[in-house]
Symmetry: C2
Subunit: 291 residues, 2 copies
DNA sequence: CGGGTCTTTGATTAGGTTCAATAAGAGTGG
DNA sequence: CCACTCTTATTGAACCTAATCAAAGACCCG
């Protein structure tokens, strides 16, 4: 699969000179078949950053590459030269710690940028693995920063995106440092819900693309704890869960959850919650708990 | 103290036009009294990044500001416009989580850059507090990036430093997600040792500048656990600890420590370690445990 | 259909937190 | 300079959360 990547990469290298001028011609093809190239405007939209007004003079085309589930986009130690943007699909990024265990760092999806960790050491310190079929946009870092030099607004955005990622990691540290297992799992579900919602999908029902083990690694928990916590949330009606299928019933409770009531009182609590939802006169967000 | 900062900041605003040209004049003063300004070359050296060869055309001066222990360099929510570099002294950066608890994110010291988290939201998401008297270099972000535009090597370094910080946070996440309390404390000590060593101080004996509570917050542990772990390390001879004074006796053991032997066997282990250190024919680093 | 991976659930254990009490410093003001 | 207070650090005991070990069921894919 690494070979496949290199082949695609080679395609970029050979075609980019040809395509960068007659990008308009390629554009027509995009509409019909699989989209193989994006311009700077599309890249900026995807990243949700302000886009340089004058795109005309920089019709550089960013190549798309398709990956199948299980394939690696980049590996640890591989020389850095690209950033990557998810156009569609789901991935995980992982580090390998000194004892050989893999630690999940993020679950990139549409609009997310990854590969930033490679800038400093000129070598990726993490690897990115497709969890589904993915359409990934290749962003040659040198080219990106040179575009930034001619488009100050883009430059600002690049710094901004990197800062955003840093803040994300800090929030992660804070969560791992202070929240209970239940709170972590709850936040994780809320975060997924928000992201799916932002992508235009349902923020109430979705399928997990990752295993319990991967979720556990991401949250600093064991897979059993993740599974048990899902079951507990299900039991008290916060969510409905069946294997990978999740339905969020009470997102506001998940948002603020810090600790679950002791299991003795759970049936009581569940009953109360159900009553709450049914009799609901006031509450804004309290859909019934039925799956 | 916030007022004091503002005053200093105003000094920068009014004097920078004057000083940017006759920097040579100011240079003389540096040598004698407290250093109040640094040029780009010094900033780059401090950050351990490659420095643009041609510094001549950019004799912009970066102002220094002094802070006393307990003072805040920036606060959460304050509008972002500066990055900060530690020239001397020790600090902590903290986030406040939703329940109002403070989470320590880092302990910046000489050569460290902080404030990056403010770039994205144009507002700092963390606050930086001096743990000792500090000499801090103000780096106006706009000025810094514009210097980056004319010095490509600097631009690369800015991206590099931001990437380095991201990798640091990822390593932190990995640590919090997978290591035991003892291993975390051990790594923390090793990290301090390495940093003190890199600064030219002893990497064996040093004083902690932060409380057990702050260490615990940083490592995702309670202050009691930190204290107990220090005591345990002391007991088996890995370190000698007396309040804030630390002496590292076996750094290689600390580097690789994953879990301590059960306390029953500790006296035995300590004896063995002592014997090891005393009889040591082979071991490279195993100084006696006397404090 | 069978082998493999993933998930659920139970029983037990252990690591770390919590609560509490004491001690040691650091700073302040008489 | 000493007494007093406040913060910080140490240590113990009980409790509890989440990990570990184990087994069985669900799902997927060849």
């Amino acid at each position: 699969m690494q070979i496949e990547y290199k082949q695609e990469n080679t395609v970029l290298a050979t075609q980019q000179n040809i395509v960068s001028q007659p990008a308009r011609a390629a554009e027509a093809a995009w509409q019909r078949s699989a989209k193989l190239w994006s311009n700077l405007t599309e890249v900026c939209e995807l990243l949700r950053i302000s886009c340089p007004g004058a795109t005309l003079d920089s019709d550089f085309a960013f190549q798309h590459v398709q990956f199948k589930s299980g394939q690696r986009i980049h590996t640890i130690g591989q020389p850095f030269d690209m950033l990557y943007i998810v156009n569609s699909g789901f991935l995980k990024t992982v580090m390998i710690d000194e004892s050989g265990n893999e630690q999940v760092l993020s679950f990139p999806m549409k609009g997310d940028l990854f590969g930033i960790d490679g800038i400093h050491s000129r070598t990726y310190t993490s690897e990115a693995v497709a969890l589904s079929s993915c359409d990934i946009i290749l962003v040659p870092f040198k080219k990106f920063t040179s575009l930034g030099r001619s488009h100050p607004e883009l430059e600002t955005s690049i710094y901004s995106v990197m800062s955003r990622e840093l803040v994300r990691e800090q929030a992660m540290v804070s969560m791992l440092g202070s929240l209970s297992a239940e709170a972590r799992v709850a936040r994780f579900l809320v975060s997924l819900s928000d992201r799916f919602g932002a992508m235009g999908y349902s923020n109430k029902e979705f399928n997990l693309r990752m295993t319990r083990h991967e979720i556990g690694s991401y949250l600093g928990l064991t897979l059993e704890t993740v599974s048990r916590t899902f079951s507990a949330f299900n039991e008290i009606g916060l969510i409905s869960v069946d294997q990978r299928a999740i339905c969020i019933n009470d997102i506001s409770a998940l948002r603020t959850l810090r600790r679950l009531p002791p299991s003795r009182s759970r049936t009581k609590a569940a009953a109360a919650a159900a009553a709450n939802a049914a009799a609901a006169a006031a509450p804004v967000a309290a859909p019934a708990a039925g799956a």
